[in-house]
């Protein structure tokens, strides 16, 4: 497989996963905020923080109100992290790798983009938003299924799965980060007493789980009531849940096994895995979670860098891609 094509197909995988994750996030957040006390110092800006796009947002919008934030993350094409941008970039990468991916998958990606382009701006209003986001999520899942069911499980397919696993691990750390570092302190600063906060704390952790479609699996796995230490442990370290960091890394590792010259990338994955598995999460939730997640994210970026060095760099890519 050509290095240039491998790179494009990798980005195709990342952008598709990113679009789906962002859609999940918007969906859950939209319902969560309705339940929170009005005094809580959390709001729509949190979403901008999760996606790490604060500067881009501030440049264009004055208020961090619902309309602005949703527009920015859903349909604003000047924001490269928006769902519509992610889908446009996914489509462009698919269009330029059509000789490799199954034509049905290309048709579906093309359709999804055309659908999103046509409808994304409608999702700014609360009414149709939920359905729109669900359609996008379902469509992304359908595409993932098409790849699994119609594409030979070759290097190209491996790059899609590598990209997906890495994007997932990254997104999960971001969401945990926001749940524990932004949401909870924001709630506490709202001036309520700790008894008043407790029910909301529970709700926030549920929302965090929901945004990763993890609530049900968590309940089956953790029989205790929803609490911060268990939730973060589950999302970080559960081996079976497909969006947990440890599971994503294991998947990533097994996909890397079948690629040539995989030494550097595998070594980076191993050290990231050690960091993820060995951590005492309940202790970190009490103190130091923020620093821990920062370190984990640096490692995840490191894996991306090793992949790029090993398989993509021989060719200068024609288009600018952004991690």
């Amino acid at each position: 497989m050509l290095s240039r094509v491998a790179e494009r197909i990798y980005w195709l995988g990342r952008y598709l996963e990113r679009a789906e994750n962002t859609a999940r996030l918007l969906n859950v957040y939209s319902t969560l905020l309705l339940d929170l006390p009005r005094g809580a110092k959390i709001g729509w800006h949190t979403l901008v923080e999760i996606t790490g796009s604060r500067p881009g947002f501030d440049e264009k919008y004055q208020d961090t109100d619902e309309r602005s934030v949703i527009r920015f993350l859903l349909s604003d094409t000047s924001n490269y992290c928006s769902i519509l941008s992610s889908l446009a970039l996914a489509r462009e990468n698919a269009r330029t790798t059509r000789e490799i991916i199954p034509s049905e998958a290309w048709e579906q990606i093309n359709n999804l983009y055309l659908f999103a382009k046509e409808n994304a701006s409608k999702g700014v209003a609360r009414g149709p938003r939920h359905q729109l986001l669900n359609q996008i999520i379902a469509h992304c899942q359908q595409i993932a299924g098409l790849f699994a069911g119609t594409m030979s499980h070759n290097s190209g397919y491996n790059f899609i799965r590598i990209a997906r696993s890495l994007e997932r691990a990254d997104m999960t750390t971001r969401i945990v980060d926001v749940g524990s570092v932004t949401l909870l302190p924001g709630l506490r600063q709202g001036g309520k007493s700790s008894e008043q906060i407790e029910p909301f704390e529970n709700m926030i952790w549920m929302a965090v789980l929901n945004s990763l479609s993890a609530y049900q699996m968590y309940r089956q796995h953790v029989l205790d009531r929803v609490n911060g230490g268990d939730v973060v442990t589950f999302l970080m370290q559960d081996r079976q849940f497909p969006r947990s960091v440890v599971h994503s890394l294991a998947k990533l590792e097994s996909c890397l096994q079948s690629l040539p010259n995989n030494g550097a990338a595998l070594a980076e994955v191993s050290s990231t895995q050690a960091l993820a598995i060995d951590a005492d999460i309940p202790l970190l939730v009490q103190n130091g979670l923020l620093e821990y997640i920062d370190e984990l994210q640096i490692h995840i970026a490191g894996i991306h860098a090793r992949i790029t060095d090993t398989w993509f760099l021989p060719v200068v890519s024609g288009q600018q891609q952004s991690a």
Binding site: S3, V5, E99, I100, S103, E107, L114, W311, V316
Partner: protein, 482 residues
Amino acid sequence: MRIDWKTYNPGAFYDELISSPGHARKSGRILARYLSSLKSEDLQERKTAAELAIKAMGISFTVYSEAGNIDREWPFDIIPRIITETQWRSTGKGLEQRLRALNCFIHDVYNDQKILNDKVVPKELIEKSVNFRKECIGMKPRFDVWAHICGTDLIRDTDGRFYVLEDNLRVPSGVSYMLENRKVTKRVFPELFENYDILPITEYTTQLFDMLAAISPRPLDYPEVVVLTPGIYNSAYFEHSFLAQRMGAELVEGGDLVVEDDCVYMRTINGLSRVDVIYRRIDDMFLDPEVFHPDSVLGVPGLMRAWLKGNVALANAPGAGVADDKVIYTYVPAMIKYYLGEEPILENVPSYLCVDEKQCKYVLENLDKLVVKPANESGGYGMLMGPMASKKEREEFARRIKADPRNYMAQPLISLSTAPVLGERGAEPRHIDLRPFILQGRDVYVTPGGLTRVAMVKGSYVVNSSQGGGSKDTWIVIEEES
């Protein structure tokens, strides 16, 4: 928009479906009856279905414009064009004969130059041809074939016969649209296929791959065949990607290839990997910056060296364009006699060469009746349509011809045949041509039919997609004995 064939009038032109108002040709009767039986809503629904299919399948082409390059959906008319198999058989033979002769000619020009020494083709025409590549002199590609893939444009005059308008021997495009048109028609009118015996066309990509594999310089069971594209902004990128996909070949850009020790390699995730055959969709002048345009970033430095050493095959071979020249075109019937000792099966459109003094005088005196073409432009650029042009445009062209007579030839305005297209108010006649594709490696293969291009504007003769033309599915139909 119901279709009533009684009000459909192609006038003096040869119409492919309707011989006179209300009467369909024998081969088209079922189609004509079927179309007129459809209600307005049904027709509209089919038309919309085709548009949606094209959009969903992502069949597009890029238009160069001042406002940048735009990716456009492929313009397609849903009414298929029918040609009988009986008529096609001899046309196909004529196309095969033509390409064989053209390849003999190209090989001769770069080697012994017998045809020039025998004064059948004037030597100076070759010496002055901008498509003659002196770098290729003495080269002997496999099977002595230079033009492996040819797209020949045919038109039908009022007499209903096919004439050759031009041979495209450099990087002819359109074959993917031919294949996709059939796919769309199958989605839109599946019931029609029950009533007709239509020759399938899907074989093309297999034939193309086999031909490319056959010209590999290394005798391998699985030679590495790649398609070389100028990149995603090229107007035919869709086609490059389509063909690579169908052949299971890598689609490469110049930057993916590197020449070491006069061999070509591609950069893969496993490191460098040897390439045997390159189906290049880049013009000669951009192939290799070491030999041609030094500032080309589309090509591969050293590619010509590797080719001349016989370490890689290029299709079409560099220099093949020497026969893709509207002046050389007029000598093709003579080439057929000279090399093959046969009578040409397909006729040329009558042509006047401006390089010949007498013929040039005639051209200049009759500019208002003629179509003047430059020798080396493609895509319909740089032409003068005499009868439609203004006096000023004709004067401007007269100046250009006098300045460079070698570069111009003229033809009478041929009455292109028409075929019905579905418009706002039912079926309307529009002018069409036909581009079949011919492959030559060890053997010759001709597509059954080809790409029918349609001038979508009423009365227009310009069928090029780069200038707003459309297309139709083309059926070669076996007629029932009766």
